[in-house]
Symmetry: C2
Subunit: 199 residues, 2 copies
Amino acid sequence: MNYYGEIISRLIEELARLPGIGAKSAQRMAFHIVNLPKERAFSLASAITEARDKILYCEVCQNLTDVSPCQVCDNDNRDFTKIMVVEDPRAMVAYEKTREFKGFYHILHGAISPLAGIGPSELKVKELLARLGDTEVEEIIIATNPNIEGDATALYLSRLIKPLGIKVTRIAHGVPVGGDLEYADEVTLARAYDGRREI
Amino acid sequence: MNYYGEIISRLIEELARLPGIGAKSAQRMAFHIVNLPKERAFSLASAITEARDKILYCEVCQNLTDVSPCQVCDNDNRDFTKIMVVEDPRAMVAYEKTREFKGFYHILHGAISPLAGIGPSELKVKELLARLGDTEVEEIIIATNPNIEGDATALYLSRLIKPLGIKVTRIAHGVPVGGDLEYADEVTLARAYDGRREI
């Protein structure tokens, strides 16, 4: 039996398709939405429609943006010799917040994962190579996630780009600052050892 | 700095207002929505608009529904002598799934909570009393949540309804079936002791 009626059930189903939202959270969200003042509910719906409608990929870095080139790429004060390659916009924002990196970014929108059927052609790799042709890029910093897919992507890109005479680096893996060695996993500890530097 | 541009930031903000959704989940959801096929994103937005637009309170039990009276109230085969009072539609559905209760429901849409400024007038109490006037109700089963607010609501309702000559009961509190005594809290254990029955 459909206890909630068709309209609420449809809303629950739609919400449950969002990432990280299970059946119970979707129910909670649906009842919350139904109890919102009308203008608040409509404002949420219009934010969804507008975002999907107006967002485009930045012609330079492939970030999702409402103006192209995006705010980051449209900045002559940044370092033209460096491009950091990340998997998604959130990784880019995470690095921007450090205020340490002054170069440009390139967003792949994913990582190579043969199991999930994602190869280089599903990622923004072609667009990255196009950028290397007409700029004075000296270094590509690969900041894909520290997991199998991220590592595979890093290896693939380095093999593709190194022959062009451009330096390819990968961000360091090791014990997180403020972390406790006791809680670090073996792989991280091994990588931290491999990456040791003289002090 | 607004790293994501205005449109995505607005969507993230709107999503972060939903219950149980923090800043990180809202970001994940926003990027998921922006990457959806257009018709899927628009379908989500329209489900929200439609639900908020068309959902009404059932004139009998105050459940949220698209037809009034709702499916549950519009059923002559149920037991007219019993009304179970719950805080929200999810509690009603939870009881419906047990297939144990064959009476009718009344949804309060909350519980008395002086700290949150919610008194009886914010709940569907008036509507409950109206139902007692013109039906042959013999028993009100109070199934508000087992916490301070739910207990206060149960006490308030019992004082209001008992003088009308109607039996008022409360669902049992005790150790959950399949649970382990070791992990039950003191209050639950005390309630389970108080509610002991001869076997």
